[in-house]
Structure formats: C-alpha cells, structure tokens
C-alpha cells in the first residue's frame, strides 16, 4: 500500500510540475488531470476508509468539473485559433461567456466557487495525516499550491488580460475618442461570435449546471462515495468521516443569496445593482446587530465587517457610476461579505476553512476588477500567498481533527490540553502562518503593499479595513479562544509571555517598524496607506502577543478604530484619485482647498491614525500601551510609540501637501454625496470612538470576555477611560467650532466671537473655582486671561489676514486644551488635553500663514512635540497602569508604595517629556520651540503661557504628587535627589545657552524665542531646587514671565505688522513713530532684564538666593551671567527696533490700532504692579507651597525676607522716587532751553539716515564672535545645524 501512495505522489508531483511548465492550454490541462490521478492513487494508497472515499469522491468531482473545463477550453481554442496560452490572451474580452464558464470550471476544480467547494482533496490529505504520512500530506498540499499557481496564471491570461494587439488598439481608440466608452467595440463582436457554436455552448452550460449542483449539494455525492467505498473495499464498520461542511447560518446566506439576486437583477436593470447591494449589506448589518446566537467575538467582527462593507458599497455606487460591469463587482462584494461573515461566525473549523478560501477567492476577484497589468500581478500574488497560507491552515485543521476527531471549536478547545506538544506546535504554527499571511505580518506581507494600490479604492478600503482584520480575528479565535493561554503556555514561555505570544509580538514589532519605515518612503498615496496598514496591524499583533485580557481589549479596540479610520481614508483617497486620476502624492497638492469636505474628513482620519485625541486612535493607542505596560513589557509600548513617531512624519507631511500647498490642478468639484456620505459616517465613527469610547468598548469587552472565558484568561479590570469634558474645556472647544462656522462671513465677526468665547471661558473658570485647587485655578485663570488679551490683540494684528475663522478656531481650541491640562484631576484626561494642546491645534495655529517657511518650521516643531509627548505618554501609562488608577490624588497616595523601578522610570519619562516641552537645552531651536513663523499672538501665547504647562506639571508631578521623593530613592545627594540636580543643571545650562543664542539673533521673534527658553530655564531651575526660596522664585518667575514675555511678543508683533518686517536689521527708529509701543516695550524689557524694582528682579533674586542656599554656587553664577546676557539682548532689540535712524521705507509707519495697544497696556500695567508688589502673587504662591508641604516664604506686600538677605521693594521704590525727584530737580535747576541739531557725523554731510544707522548685525561683535565660535565647535558638530546663528 505504501508503494501505491509513493506512486501516486510521484505522478502528482511530476505532472503538476509538467503542467506548470506547459505553454499550451490543452497540454496543461491534460498534465493537470493526470496529476489528479496521482491524488486519487494517493488516497487509495492509504487504505483507510476516508482515503478511499476521498479518492472516489475526487474521481467523480474531477470527472464532472474537468469535463466542463475541457469543453470550455476546447471551445476557446477553436475560437482563439491557437493552443498557446500566450496567444489566447484577451479571450475574456471577446468571449465573456466561454471564459467565464472556463474560469468557473477551473475554480471549481481548485475547490473554489461561489457554491460550496468540493472536499475530496481534504479527505485525501486527511487520510494521509491519519496514517501518519505527514510528508505525503505536505507534498500533496504543495501539489495544490503548484496547481493554484498555473491555474491562476491561465485564468488571468485568458480571462482578464488584454490581448497584445488589443492593447495597442485600445490605447489608440482611447486617444481617438476619449469621450466614448471603451468597452463597447470589443463587446459587440464577442456577442456575435458566441452565437456561432450552439451545441458546444449547450454542453458547457449543462456541465456548468451540474458542477454548480454538485457544489451546492455535496452531501448526496459524499454519501454516494461513502457507500461505494464501503462496498468496493469491504469495510463493514467505517469510522465516520470528518464532516467538513455544516449548514450555513442565515447571516451568511443573506449576502450570498443577495449576491446572486444582485447579479441577476443587475443584468436586467443595471441601475438597481448598487442600490440593491447596499440594501443587502444594510440588511446584513441589521441581522448582525440583532443576532443573539453568535458569541461576542463573532458579533464584534460581524458588525465591523458588515458595516464597512455597507459603507464601501454605498461609496461604490458613486465610484463605479457609468461603468457597465458593476454587477460583477457587486456580486463579488457581497460574496466577500458573506464569506467574511462566514469566517467570523463559524464554530466549526471545516466551515471556517471553507469560508476562508472563499473569502480569498472572492476578494481576489475584486482586486482584479479593473484587470490592469498591475492589478493582475498584485492579485496573483495575493491569491497565491493567501491560498498557500490557507493550505497551511488546512493542514493544521486536519491534524487537529485527526488527533481529536472533531472540527467543533468548542470540542477542540476542551480537549486541546491533551494534544502532544509537537502536534500542538505544528497546528499553532500552521494557524499563525495561515492567519498571518492574511493579516500581512512580516515576512508574509508582500502581497499587501501591492494589492492595496492596485485594487479599486473601495476594495482597498475593504482590504485594509476588514480583510487584514479577519487575519487578526483568526489569530484571536484560534490562539486565545480555542486553545487559550493555558494551552499555549505548554509550548514553552519566555518571561511572562508564552513562546507563541513572543513570536507573535516579535512579528508584530517587525511588521510595525517595517510598515512605518516603508510608508515613509512612498510616493504613491495608496501604497503609503497600505504600508501604514501594515504598521497598524503590527501594533495590534504586538499587543495581542502579550496574551492578557487587557491586550485583547486593546487589540480589538484598535481593530474597530483602524477599520473605521483606514476604511475611511481609502475611501476618501479614492475620491481624490477618482477626481484627479493620479495616485501620486505630489499631484494632490492643495487639493484640500478645492475639496474641503473630503480632505477635512481625511485629515481627521490621519490625526486619529497618529493616535491624537480626541479621536478614536488615541484611545486604542493608549489601551495598547496600557496593556503592554501592565503585562510588564513596557518596551513593546516603546516600539509602538517609536512606530507612531515615524508615522507622524509622513502623516503630517501628507496633511501639509493636501491642505497647504498651492493647488495647481484642474478645476474640480467636491465629490457626489453618495461617496461623501460613507466617508462622513466613518469619520463620525472615528470621532465618536474618541469622544465616547465606552460604546464601542462595550462591544469589544463582550468579545474579550467571551475569549477570556473560552481560553481561560484571567479577566482584569480595564481602565476607566471615560473622557470627561469639563465645562471649562468644553466652552473653548465647542466655541472654536462655533467661531469657525459663524466666523466664515466676516473677519470681524470671527474675532469678536472668539473674544466672547474666551470671556465666557474665563467666567466659567472663575465660577468653578470651588472645584479646583488653588494651583490649577490660578493657572487656568491666567491661561484664559492672557488668551483673552491675545485674542483682542489678534483683532488688530490679523485684520488683513486670511482664513481668520480657522485661525481663531485653532487658537481657541489650543487654549481649551491648555485649560484642560491645567485643571485635570486625572492623568488620562490630562494627557488627552496635553496632546490636544501640543499637537494638531498647535500645528494648525503655527502654520496659519501657510508660507513655505512656516510649513517647514511647523512640521519640525510638530514632530518634536510628538516625540516629547510620546515620552510623557509612556511615562504616564507606566505610572497609571501600575497604580491602577488615573486619579491624581489616588496616584499621589500610592506612588510611594509602587516598585521603584516602575514608578521612577515613569516619572523620569514624564519629566523628559515636560522638559522637551519647555525646550530646554536649545541646540535645535527650530525643532524645539514654536517657530518664529507663527502669527505673533500665537507665538506670544505659546512662549508666555503654553510652555508654562511644562513647569506647571513638573511641579505637580515632582512636588505635589511626590515624584521627587520617588526619584530620591534612586540616589540622594545631601537632601536632594541626584536626578533633581540633573534637572537643575539642565536648567542652568539652558539659561546661559539660550541667553547667549538670543544675543546673536537678528530675527525679531527668534530673539524673543531664545529669550523665552532661557527664562523658562530660570523657572525650572528654581523649582528643581525644591526649597521654599527656589519654588517661590520659580513660581513667581512663572507668573512674571507670563506677562512681560507676552507683552514683548505683542510689541514685536506690533512692529512686524505695522512695519512689515521680520528681522531687526530691517528696522530702526520706530520709537518716534510708535511711542506707545515703545513705552510698553520698555516696561516689558526692564521687567525681563530684572532691573529693580521691575518684576523680573524679585523672582530672579529669589532663584539666585535659592541656588546659593543649596550650595549651588555655579548654578547661581550661570543664572546671574544669564541676566547680563538678558540685558544685552533686550537692549539690542530696543536699539535696533526703536532707536537709531528711521529707514526711508518706514517713513509712513503708524502706531498700532487700539485693539493691539489696549492688551499691551494691560500687560504693562500688570508687570509694573507685580514688580512693586511681589506680595500679591506670593500670597497665592504660598498657598501652592502648602500643597507641596514646603514652608512658606516670609514676605509682606512689599518685600521678602530670606535667610540670605532681604529685598524690600517698597523701600527701594521710595528711595528711587526720591532720587528721581533729586534728578529732575537738577534738570529743572539747569538751563531748560532745547535746540534740535543734526547728529554729529564728523563733518561728513553726504550720507543719509539709512547709512548711519547701526543695525542689529553690527552690535556686540566681540561677544558674538565668542558665542558663535563656541556654538560652531560644540553644538554644530553634534547637532548639525549652524542655521541658528544667523549671521
């Protein structure tokens, strides 16, 4: 018997290979048929009942189906006049009927058809496994793979490809009559030709019908074969055969039968095709929703699948409008839907496999729907890879049945523990490969980036949105529901992970990094999205590999989100491609301006993919990180973050290309509603999943609960991620939208509404004062107050700007995020607001001017912030996941008892994130700080207020929540944690470094930006000392700097907008034209330089003393030297802008309008008061110190007393007033006659005012040289940018 098997095998392999080599159709078919004989012999060779039945069944099936194939092939050969497959190309165009029947036959032979497939080959393979002939089984499967290879080639050549001659002709025809439909001339002769040979046609139809019937009702044939086998080989008591096929559930039948209905009805009434398909898809969604019989996991996936298909089908109506062949498309669409649902709801491995194959087949036909060369190649790859993967799976399934005698998943599940480890491993690996191919895991991914761009957009949407997800589904179902973590653990473990889990996670990490990096390099938008899909799938599998309940919830939630996000993106991109007829990203430049709705939705999808709140992707990214950290594998989370940082680069680039480049394409209109609606619905899902995650999470939880119950996974509580939007945040957020839509009409309206919105926010914060602690409340009040001033200022500043409603919207939303950051009482909400504040709102605010410079700088800043936020993100998750709560007070209470390694790492990561926000160590200011190209009210706001979120949270984290104490456990130096010293030194070096860089700047705003970084260095230095003096000084400077720096920016903005300049070199002498601005500037500058008794002095004085008190003499020296530099750069600004001679072109500059002067005046007044009366802010600060258990400083309204000395503003002000009186008295005493003269020019009289102006570039040559030299030798070689020193 063994000999017989070997013989069969030899025949099989040899003839399959021969068929593979054949170039002639008939010869190929004959060889292939002989190979089938090999299968039959192989089946008989096992001598088992199943083998013999399989052989007989195979014989009968093959006889019938091959009959159909041969008949059709013969007819095709006659018609085509050649044997050569090559020459028969393009027959599909001329003889659609014959080729369709031919394809139908071949697919049936391969066991694929819209009907149930034949199971004879399974039986043969099964019998070999049964006998333990694993090698034979594998070889038989390899034979099937070879068979699939050449058959698909044949089908593609004959049925889909265009004939060589036709190609040229078609191209010509296209050029000649571009307007006409190209299919028509080809179709007509075909119709004529097919009428020719009636008898053959009838035969073919008959055989086709028989094949269909045999596929539809295989039970009777199987029965027949069984009886026959029993009779022939005299087996009296046969063991029951594996039952592959069980009845199909109604959920599958509806789309299946619907598919045929659509096809037939569509044939007669083409207009109805799409609508009908949508109806059926909708019905399926409803059925899925109300079907109570399926388990949670199936329900989740069924809903996702049917919903996305519904959207895609609706969209397809618009997409394929005017094309004749769409009935075939909708037919396969519904078949795909049916088979996908089939996979998702199968409780039997037999069905699971059958549907899996059908799904591959049906989706393949959708990929090649537009049979271009590219699509066919991609389709071929897709089919071959997925089919091969499926064969692996088939092998695994059969092995399982052989061991356990059942296909029933529940039965397998309960018996899985008893499987021998080798078998278990083989089965698991088979499943991992089978599902992994579909999911597109590296190294089984190569079909994915080719199929996505080649397929029509709605199909890409399905591929990415749900077909890859079905791979994930398979993975979850088999590994975690059927086998379960306990069984997997039998295969060995690595750390806390099972070996298989580790494998999956590693595959996931590889996939995600590969996907992100490849996406970065793409020029084709669909390829980009395809690689991005890989990356997202990688994230999901990385998480799933952890094998915990949380990872399951996280992975599944990301499945939901990604289906919506990517599904929507492909549809939206499809609209663009459809309109512009190109997939190249560069050609989509500026399309957002002409198609705002599509692109608006797209950008939301992109933001969600980047994992930014308040969109769905953020929640799932958070959950994935949380799961990774909870499982103790925080570095998996780090990989996910790393991936998304890479992702952010190409996504933000995409947004930039689409919205902010100049549009140069043809005049186009927004897409038809039928295509927009699905895009908008999916966008809504993305947004709702972010705002109200609990609804989708309920579905996900049900699924995870089911899996956990099945697979023996410990159910843990999942984090309470209810996103709460307090009123004080909601007002600016919704207000932003309000401004956007109401402000479209006029510029003035937008501005005034936003002022009103901010006033309302301010009032709301004041009203809700009872619910906030003093620290949060005062910061929030300052945030809203300064925002109000800057918005008022914007009225004047922006009065000639474009798209003001957009500007105001993002500004207000940014402020909203900041208020959230200040007032959040739980870490999760805090982080959401942190991301909102520092990602997209900021980006859109910064690049508002849309100049190339602005875009470039905005991009860099966005990425830098994104990276910084990623550090903070991981840190936040590490702390919250280990503390098991988000509540800040609760975390603070628990922090001390957490393991040092975890808590300290979390705190360090958060600190790094915060310090990055504060732009410390400004070696690459172009990345680190808000670029100078932003509108000035925004720059000023970011500099003065928004960046304060960093020190604010450092204080909260380190001193109010007790992070510093935790860091102390890592090592103390004296009574200060060593790491706090590190922070102090970073701050100290920042003060001097940024101060020096400010000194050499010539850009109006760049100078102020460096100054800000330097000043924030003071704040951080003060707070890092953690003493009464340091903290008081830091907080006082926090407040002082907010006012005087905003004031300085607003003055700079006034210059920029009134004189139209951006560099200090270009101005001079403006003080005479803008006296108010000059006065306000002087107040700001003297406060900044800290000339007593201006406000900056008190705070810096406290910081110096604090340094000295702690023995940090070098830090004190650094910060003192920083003050000298401060004086230097503010004088430089003052001189270049306001003094010296007025250039001719600025003769007509006028003072800024009142809307700009009033905010500046208010800020000056506050700065003055803060300087003279430091007791006012110190009253609040001492209450904040109480929260940190730091003793209050000793102060009065007009003075501070410290152990190192006292500072009495009151006394000094009186002294100065008296000195002033004396001085003025002297002036009055003297001669008061004034004569205006020409400035002394050493007798030279032929030079103009412009010539004698000493501009910014001519100042401070010697110190500049030193600074530039140090910068060039120390910073540039390491950080590689000499741009900062603007010579």
């Amino acid at each position: 018997m063994y000999v017989l098997s070997v013989l069969g095998l030899v025949i099989l392999v040899v003839f399959e290979l021969l068929a593979l080599k054949s170039q002639k159709l008939m010869r190929l078919l004959v060889f292939s048929s002989i190979a089938e004989v090999g299968y039959i012999i192989l089946g008989l060779g096992t001598g088992t009942f199943s083998g013999q039945t399989g052989a007989l069944l195979h014989l009968s099936y093959q006889f019938l189906m091959r009959g159909l194939v041969f008949a059709a092939a013969a007819a095709i050969i006659v018609r085509g006049g050649s044997q050569s497959i090559e020459k028969l190309r393009g027959m599909g165009r001329t003889s659609p009927f014959l080729t369709t029947m031919f394809a139908f036959g071949i697919f049936s032979v391969m066991g694929l058809s819209p009907f149930k497939g034949s199971i004879s080959k399974f039986l043969i393979v099964y019998s070999n496994i049964e006998k333990g002939y694993y090698v034979f089984a594998v070889l038989a499967i390899i034979g099937s793979v070879i068979e699939a290879w050449y058959f698909i080639n044949v089908i593609q050549s004959i049925c889909f490809k265009a004939a060589e001659s036709e190609k040229g002709a078609a191209a010509e025809a296209q050029i000649k009559n571009a307007g006409q439909k190209k299919m028509k001339p080809a179709a007509e002769p075909a119709a004529k030709a097919s009428k020719g040979s009636m008898p053959v046609n009838i035969l073919i139809v008959l055989l086709g019908l028989l094949t269909a019937l045999a596929s539809l009702f295989p039970e009777s044939i199987v029965k027949l074969a069984e009886d026959l086998a029993a009779g022939m080989f005299g087996i009296s008591n046969p063991t029951p055969l594996p039952v592959f096929d069980t009845p199909w559930p109604i959920l599958v039948l509806v789309p299946y039968i619907g598919a045929f209905a659509v096809f037939i009805i569509g044939h007669f009434i083409p207009k109805l095709t799409g609508i009908l398909a949508v109806g059926i898809a909708a019905a399926t969604v409803c059925l899925a929703w109300f079907d109570g019989s399926i388990d949670g996991l199936s329900r989740l996936f069924t809903l996702i699948i049917s919903f996305v298909v519904l959207m895609a089908s609706l969209y397809s109506i618009g997409y394929f409008k005017g094309e004749t062949n769409n009935k075939r498309y909708f037919f396969f669409l519904l078949l795909t839907l049916g088979s996908l649902i089939g996979v998702a709801v199968s409780t039997q491995f037999g069905n699971f496999y059958v549907f899996w194959e059908l799904m591959t087949w049906a989706s393949y036909l959708m990929i090649v729907h537009e049979p271009t060369e590219k699509a066919l190649k991609a389709g071929f790859k897709y089919f071959m890879m997925c089919a091969t993967g499926a064969y692996f799976m088939q092998f695994g399934i059969l092995m399982l049945h052989n061991e356990l005698g059942t296909f029933d998943m529940n039965a397998v599940s309960s018996a899985a523990g008893s499987l021998p480890p080798a078998v278990l491993l083989a089965v698991v690996l088979a499943f991992v490969i089978g599902t992994g191919v579909k999911a597109g895991l590296v190294p089984m991914h190569s079909w994915l980036p080719e199929a996505h761009p080649a397929a029509p957009s709605p199909v890409s949407s399905l591929l990415s949105g749900i077909l890859t997800k079905i791979g994930i589904y398979g993975l979850i179902r088999v590994l975690f529901a059927v086998f379960g973590v306990g069984v997997l653990a039998q295969l060995g473990s690595a750390g806390k992970l099972s070996g298989i889990g580790l494998l999956i996670s590693v595959l996931g990490i590889a996939t995600l990094l590969y996907g992100e990096i490849m996406a970065l390099l793409q020029k084709d938008i669909k390829r980009l999205l395809a690689y991005s899909t890989m990356a997202q799938i990688g994230e999901i599998t990385t998480t799933l590999g952890l094998g915990t309940y949380l990872s399951l919830v996280a992975g599944l939630y990301h499945v939901v989100n990604h289906a919506a996000m990517k599904g929507m993106l492909f549809l939206a991109v499809g609209i663009l491609i459809h309109t512009l007829k190109t997939q190249e990203i560069v050609k989509l430049k500026g399309i957002g301006k002409v198609m705002p709705v599509t692109c608006g939705c797209m950008s939301i999808g992109i933001l969600a993919l980047m994992g930014l709140p308040p969109f769905g992707g953020f929640i799932s990214k958070f959950l994935m990180l949380y799961a990774a950290v909870s499982a103790g594998y925080w570095y998996f989370g780090a990989f996910i973050l790393l991936g998304s940082i890479i992702g952010a680069i190409y996504y933000i680039r995409l947004i930039r290309t689409i919205f902010f480049e100049k549009y140069e394409g043809p005049a186009v209109k927004e897409a038809p509603l039928v295509m927009l609606i699905p895009v908008m619905i999916l966008t809504a899902v993305v947004v709702l999943n972010g705002l109200f995650p609990q609804y989708a999470l309920n579905l996900v939880k049900a699924a995870a609960d089911y899996v956990a119950a099945q697979g023996g996974m410990a159910v843990t509580t999942i984090p309470q991620i209810v996103v709460s939007w307090p009123v004080i945040v909601a007002i600016p957020m919704l207000g932003g939208l309000f401004v956007y839509f109401l402000g479209k009409r006029s510029k003035k309206t937008a501005g005034w509404i936003s002022v009103a919105v901010m006033t309302a926010s301010l009032a709301a914060i004041a009203v809700s004062s009872g619910r906030l602690d003093i620290f949060a409340l005062s910061f929030a009040l300052l945030i809203a107050f300064v925002a109000l001033l800057n918005l008022l200022y914007s009225l004047g500043y922006m009065s000639h700007g474009h798209a003001q409603n957009r500007y105001y919207m993002f500004f207000i939303m940014m402020v909203g995020g900041l208020i959230g950051v200040a007032t959040s009482k739980d870490m999760f909400a805090f982080f959401i607001f942190w991301e909102i504040m520092s990602s997209w709102t900021l980006y859109f605010s910064i690049i508002h001017e849309e100049t190339q410079d602005a875009l470039k700088e905005g991009f860099k800043y966005f990425i830098f912030n994104y990276i910084g936020a990623s550090f903070a993100f991981l840190g936040m998750v590490m702390i919250t996941a280990n503390a098991g709560t988000f509540d800040i007070a609760a975390i603070a209470a628990k922090l001390g008892s957490l393991p040092v390694s975890v808590a300290a790492s979390g705190i360090i990561l958060l600190t790094v994130g915060f310090l990055m926000k504060a732009a410390v160590l400004p070696f690459r200011i172009d990345f680190q700080m808000h670029p100078a190209t932003a509108p000035t009210p925004v720059s000023g706001y970011i500099s003065s207020v928004l960046l304060k979120s960093a020190p604010y949270w450092l204080i909260r984290l380190l001193f109010i929540m007790g992070g510093a104490a935790m860091l102390g456990k890592l090592g103390m130096s004296g009574n200060t944690p060593v790491l706090m010293y590190v922070v102090s030194w970073i701050a100290g070096l920042t003060i001097i470094g940024a101060g020096a860089m400010a000194l050499v700047q010539r850009g109006i705003k760049r100078l102020l930006i460096y100054s800000t970084v330097s000043q924030i260095g003071y704040i951080v230095l003060g707070l890092s000392l953690g003493t009464t003096l340091g903290m008081s000084g830091g907080l006082l400077h926090f407040i002082n700097h907010m006012f005087f720096k905003d004031l300085l920016f607003l003055c700079a903005g006034a210059i920029m907008v009134q004189a139209h300049v951006t560099r200090l070199d270009e101005v001079g002498g403006l003080g005479r034209k803008m006296p108010f601005t000059l006065s306000f500037f002087m107040v700001g500058a003297l406060s900044l330089a800290g000339i007593p008794p201006f406000s900056g002095f008190t705070s810096k004085w406290l910081i110096y003393e604090a340094c000295m008190q702690q023995g940090q003499v070098f830090l004190a020296l650094l910060s003192l030297a920083g003050s000298v530099l401060t004086m230097g750069y503010f004088l430089k600004f003052m001189h270049s802008a306001f003094f010296g001679t007025l250039p001719k072109k600025l003769e007509n500059v006028k003072e800024a309008p009142w809307t700009m002067l009033v905010p500046m005046g208010i800020l000056s007044a506050i700065s003055l008061v803060l300087g003279v009366v430091p007791g006012l802010p110190l009253t609040v600060i001492s209450k904040v110190l109480d929260m940190m258990n730091i003793p209050r400083p000793e102060f009065t309204l007009f003075g501070i007393n410290t152990p190192l000395g006292a500072w009495q503003t009151g006394v000094v002000v009186i002294l100065m007033l008296m000195a002033g009186v004396i001085g003025i008295g002297l002036f009055l005493l003297g001669n008061r006659k004034v004569r205006r003269t020409n400035a002394y020019t050493c007798g030279v009289s032929d030079i103009t005012n412009d010539d004698i102006h000493v501009s910014a570039g001519n100042l401070y040559e010697s110190p500049d040289e030193i600074i530039e030299k140090v910068h060039d030798t120390v910073v540039v070689p390491v950080f590689g940018n000499g741009e900062e020193v603007q010579k």
Binding site: G1069, G1071, R1072, P1075, L1078, M1082, G1090, I1091, P1092, F1097, W1101, Y1104, E1105, M1108, Q1109, V1113, L1117, A1121, V1124, M1127, G1128, L1131, M1134, H1135, F1139, G1140, L1204, G1205, A1206, W1207, Q1208, V1211, V1212, L1215, M1216, M1218, A1219, I1222, G1223, L1226, F1227, L1229, G1230, N1231, V1234, R1235, R1236, T1237, A1239, Y1240, C1242, N1249, I1252, H1253, V1254, N1258, L1259, Y1260, S1262, P1263
Partner: protein
C-alpha cells in the same frame, strides 16, 4: 522716625549730598593726580563742581534723529540707581547701611544701572558713534560682570558658611563677619578675589585701558557724544557716584576695618580708603596704560580676573583657611 531717617539718609548722608560731594572729590583727586603723574599742573580739586555748574547753564542739544523723551530721560536711570545704591552701603563705624534692603544682589543690579542709562541714552540719540559706543559698553559689561559675579558670590559664601548657611548676601552681615573674623584683605584665600575685584573697577567706571566705549579718539566719547547741558551733567554726576559706590563696595567687602569708635575718624578713614581704591585702580592705571581693543579686553576679563576669582571661590568652597 524711621521714615524721617530714611529721608535724611537719602538726601544728606550717606546718600544725596554726601555721596555727590564725595563723588566730586574722587573725580577731582583723580584728575589732579592724573595730571601730576603726567607732570601737568592739573585742574583744582573742585573742578568737577565747576564743570557741573557750567553744564547746568548750557542749553540742551537734541539730535533730530533722537528719540526725544528717552534721550532726555535716560541719564536719570543711572542717577537714580546710584543714589539709591549710595544709601545701602554701610560705612563701618559710621553708618550701618540700609539693612533691610542692603543686599549684595540688589546692589549688583543697581551697579549696572549707569551702564544701562548710558546705553539707552546712546541708543536713543540716533548717532552712529553713540550706537557703536553702546554696543561696546554692553560687550565690556558682559566681560567684567563675569569676574565681578564670582567675587561677590565668593564673599557671600565666605560669610554665609561662617554663619552656618552657605551664603549670605546681607551687607550688614558681611561687615559684622569681618568685624569678628578680621577683614577679608587679611585672609590669603580672599586675596585673589580682591585682585579680581580691583581689576573690574576701571571697566565699570569706563577708564583707560577699558574706556573702549567712549574712546574719544575713535568714537568722540561714544555714548556721551550727543549729550550736553544738564544731561551731560547728570552723566558726570552718575560717574562720580559710581566711583563712590564701587570703592565703598570694595571697602565694605574687603577692608571695612575701623579706627576706634569715633564716627568722624571712621568716616575720614573710609573716605581715605575710597580714595586709595580709586587712585590705585583708576588714576594710576589710566595714567600708565593705553587703551585696549575690545577683543583684548574681553579676553583679559574672561581669563585673568575670572581665574583669580575662581581660585578664591574654590578655596572658599573647600573651606580652606590660611
């Protein structure tokens, strides 16, 4: 009572009248001695006073290119700063200083106000010479502030560490420390700091070889070029006051010792010490040296005095006592 005392301190002694007179005296002595070193007769000691009166009588010239208000007001800034500072510094054995605000850090900032006034005025004048002068003034400020800061920190640390803390910025405490432990000048570890401090004085006052901002041969007095009348008078007064402040500070920080307890003797002793400081650091130096270039000055200040001051700082930090 204390308010009245404050007014007295401000207007008569040690600020106001006394400080101004002392400033004039220092200037007069400087000029006289300077002339004598050059073998000239030189002006009488009261020449600065005569100059002041003369300048007050002159009309005020304001360039067309100037920012009028700022140009006129700028001289006041330094005057106010110096006059306020004059009240703060203690004169040992005579005046305890304005203890509540006599803080070394406050003084440090006030000490910068004359330069600030000069720079703002120069900048506001619209003259290119003045602008260059202002730029140089800033550069040299950056240069001499570095060693000055180190010296002040060292003194504060010396006192603070003796008092059980790390630093003490109260001028009163600095004096009383020296009364108990002997003047800093007798502490060898502090000698480098003293030298560094003395090095800084010519640059603070703006005399040769560090008169680079004014450099009359190149810049025709630089920042002061466009000033005349009461404005120039104010600057001159401020210059005199600054001499008082800087020398008084040197005395207070390094050798505040008294001669007995009679206030008049101590006052004269104080005036003598101030004169000594000024003649040593200003008169002798400017009479014997030529003007440096800006880069030379920068290099000088960032190396020699900084190094000297750091020696004292490190020794103090290590608690070395010799």
């Amino acid at each position: 009572m204390s308010a009245l005392k404050l007014v007295f301190n401000m207007l008569i002694f040690p600020g106001g009248l006394f400080a101004i007179m002392l400033g004039m005296l220092l200037m007069g002595v400087d000029r006289k001695l300077y002339a004598r070193i050059q073998r000239r007769v030189g002006p009488p000691l009261y020449q600065p006073f005569i100059d002041l009166v003369k300048l007050l009588q002159k009309e005020i010239l304001v360039p067309q290119t100037a920012n009028y208000t700022v140009f006129r007001a700028a001289p006041l800034i330094g005057f106010i700063g110096m006059l306020a500072a004059a009240v703060m510094i203690p004169i040992s054995g005579v005046y305890p200083g304005l203890d509540s605000s006599a803080n070394l850090l406050v003084l440090l900032y006030l000490l910068a106000t004359p330069a600030l006034a000069l720079m703002i005025g120069a900048s506001a004048s619209g003259s290119p010479y003045s602008a260059i002068g202002y730029s140089r003034e800033m550069s040299i400020t950056i240069a001499y502030e570095a060693p000055l800061l180190v010296v002040l920190m060292t003194v504060a640390m010396k006192v603070g560490m003796a008092n059980g803390g790390f630093a003490d910025f109260s001028l009163g405490h600095i004096i009383s420390y020296q009364q108990q432990n002997g003047s800093m000048i007798f502490d060898i570890t502090m000698l480098p700091a003293l030298l560094a401090f003395l090095c800084c004085i010519p640059a603070t006052i703006g005399t040769v070889p560090f008169d680079i901002p004014e450099a009359e041969t190149e810049l025709a007095e630089g920042p002061l070029l466009e000033y005349s009348g009461s404005g120039l008078a104010m600057y001159n007064l401020t210059g005199g006051l600054k001499m008082v402040i800087i020398s008084a500070l040197a005395v207070a920080l390094f050798f505040p010792g008294t001669l007995g307890s009679f206030w008049l003797i101590n006052l004269l002793w104080f005036v003598f010490k101030c004169l000594l400081v000024i003649t040593l650091t200003i008169t002798v130096v400017r009479a014997t040296r030529a003007r440096m270039r800006m880069d030379q000055a920068l290099k000088f200040y960032l190396t020699v005095p900084v190094a000297l001051a750091l020696v004292s700082l490190v020794l103090t930090l290590l608690g070395v006592r010799i």
